[in-house]
Amino acid sequence: MSEARAFKHIGQRTIRPDGFDKVTGKANYGADMSMPGMIWGAILRSPHAHANILSLDTTRAEASPDVLAVATFQDFPSVNDAAAAAGTLKSSLMETAENILAKNKVLYHGQAVAAVAARTEAAATAALALIDVEYEPLTPVLTIDAAIADDAPLLHPTMMTQGLLEPATEPSNIAARMELKKGDIEAGFAEAEVIVERSYNTPTVHQGYIEPHATVVRFDDNGPSTIWCPTQGHFDVRARVAQLLNLELGQLKVVASEIGGGFGGKTTVYLEPVALILSKKSGRPVKMTMTREDVFRASGPASASQSTIKIGAKMDGTITAMQATLHYEAGAFSGSPMGPGCMTVFTPYDVENLYVEGFDVVVNKPKVAAYRAPGAPQSEFAAEMAVNELAAKIGMDPIDLRLKNAAKEGTQTIYGPKLKVVGLEACLEAAKNSDHYRSSLGEHVGRGLAAGFWFNIGGQSSVIINLNPDGTGTILEGSPDIGGSRASMQMMAAEVLGIAPGKLNPIVADTEHVAYNQTTGGSRTTFATGMAVIEAAESVVDQLKSRAAAMWNVTAEQVEYSDGVAANLAGEDRLSLAEICANAEKTGGQISGTANINARGAGPSFAVHICDVKVDPDTGKTDVVRYTAIQDAGKAIHPSYVEGQFQGGAVQGIGWALNEEYVYSAEGVMENAGFLDYRIPLASDLPPIETIIVEVPNSFHPFGVRGVGETGIVPPLAAVGTAVAEAIGMPVTSLPCSPPKVLELLLSKS
């Protein structure tokens, strides 16, 4: 995008099209669905964090007149077939299956072991007592240190570390190692005049979406079976369930319900395959829901982490070397976001010499899932804390230090590409000029600032725009809308078609009514699905022009289309979009545009956050008293929902930094599996979250869009952590900065 463009609808604050249903209670989420003849499923969960299953006997349950079906691991056909036996099946599928229904070992407290279906929810829950399981408890492994100790009990006795320089010879709890480097790290440190080195840790936290997982499934022998569920990616639900149950994709139809929050946590399957097994066995539609406790104990939280950061710099602030060692807890099965954690850790900096080593470690906790910029908050927390310590050490303003070393166009990233035009410097300048950064601080108040980076992705999106004879229309898309994206789709299509956004109804279609769409994640939807919407709308414009040409008996080249009106360049004729649609039958039939794309060129989004906290010196309680989130949106399609992403990400990060953590007993039982004790931020905990939208256009998107969904959760951890450290005059190395921990720091000081 070379020049600033004047928009009519883009950048306006329209009313979202799905809003009416959501403020009136009409919108249907996962648990809101019922089907005729529907019965209820319930899941028996492991009482142990680590145990062998010696026997699993469902005879009594099956004999009960209340029970209509029972499911165990043995019901997964695809993991019992020859491929699985020969070990050629992808291990990730086997692990997915074991995470859904345990095989011969339970690896975390709350892991699903078996399931039953009965006529009522209460009967299903009661029938779980009829399943007999004999366990041999094993010692739980609950921390990274415990997991990597030489004599650690092994979760997976045959798991060999991938990615070592020499192939592993002994099994361990380290699933994988990765290494990234740039330049000469030793030379970089040799050049340095000052070194900062420190270790940090962050706890297991949960995405905390308010809607628990839920599904209603109807097995059908003669046509596609139907899965209704709240998911960020119904096409991926289809693929996963088909793989697990040996079905063809055409045998499944997945309908994405409205989704009550996801943040990455609704990108996998838990209940859906089980409900399908139960539905097939019982011949009835089956509904299953998780309780809040189940969600905490048995869905996928975000990795706890341990990070060591070393930074070398000159006294003028030039950073000469940055090094990181990062450990991520994967939970019970391999696959933490250690990779993106390594890739993002130093990306806000244009530094010649970098070295990053990461480890993916299994522990007896639930298998982690994606959480908003997965892996980045943990590693960038550590890096940003260390950068702030460096700034203090050399007496430099933290913004000036970052500006001196900021990543910019042409910066060689550690993970591969050179950066295109990015907005980090613009965000830093905006922070520096902000009213917040210029304001003074009161007593017991500390200020922290941190930057954040997330890649953003593109990928496959498909869109169909159908116009009605009166000029209204529908936008069929396949990206579940987790934060208002239908409004953006409507606006982008309206911009191209030159009509009011309200004329177009955006619909998240099921897997049978729109072509493949990648999961809503990676901040891709407004970028990639938006690109598909624009392309489909442009195709509609081409058709409108040729239809008008047909009515005027001229060529399409002689027709110009703008602001919803076609003009005959050879005369005075004008036809509105609605008029062309009214005549569509006579000019060739339905006007409809489609786009099936694999979007490239996602623009990274950088952010800078400023946080002031006040610490009560007597109790250690910390309150955020002022907060500003600054982020590059490329182009804000709907500024209110862009601000909403900044604010929501900031507050999730504030929760991560101040209060949220899984508290475990020695036996590996989560002791705070509810919203009372796992405290996410409340309205009364927070000040207004100020926002500054920076717009450095992404040249690969027709309107300049960068994804904005994830970056906002990256800076808060270090912004808050640094503010607390400044308020109490002590280094902060461990999150959350909960009252007992801050008080301990205060007491250790005096």
Binding site: D18, K26, A122, I210, I482, Q647, V651, A683
Partner: protein, 161 residues
């Protein structure tokens, strides 16, 4: 044995049968099909199931269905009129005070209760009154702006009457 309950929901007489152990939330959602009231926790911590019971703001997950006997219940489904949204609902839309929307019904009901009790709340009043309604998407900023704007609009509306 199921209990027979006669109650009033959104000004209409309603009768239902329920197990004495069933919550009002379960009854509303599964027995009566009124799924506008949402379940986020089942333990009274998130406020997604906020309803009015005889003029009191309660979590429907902490009330038994049988407690509805002879009571007056108001749910999110009763907030809008047949032909127009309530000012609170309009302001939530105008201020983009929702993202996923699962907490929205509870927040609408709770905001209505707040403004009935206190038509002129400070921002701090609003933040503390709504502290029982968790929202994970918005960071509350736009919710509070919507609530304050709704309060002002409703006060002006009354002044004009």
């Amino acid at each position: 044995m199921k209990a027979h309950v006669s109650t009033t929901i959104n000004q209409e007489p309603v009768e239902f049968l329920c197990d004495p152990a069933e919550t009002l939330l379960k009854v509303l959602r599964d027995n009566l099909g009124m799924t506008g009231t949402k379940e986020g926790c089942g333990s009274g911590d998130c406020g997604a199931c906020s309803v009015m019971l005889d003029g009191e703001l309660v979590c429907a997950c902490l009330v038994l269905g049988v407690e509805a006997e002879g009571a007056r219940i108001e749910t999110v489904e009763g907030v809008a009129s047949a032909d127009h949204l309530h000012v609170i609902q309009e302001k939530f839309l105008e201020h983009a005070a929702l993202q996923c929307g699962i907490c929205t019904p509870g927040l609408i009901v709770a905001t209505k209760a707040l403004l009935a009790e206190n038509p002129n709340p400070t921002e701090a009043d609003a933040r503390y009154y709504l502290a029982g309604n968790l929202c994970r998407c918005t960071g509350y900023d736009k919710i509070i702006k919507a609530v304050m704007d709704a309060a002002e609009t409703m006060r002006q509306g009354e002044a004009h009457e």
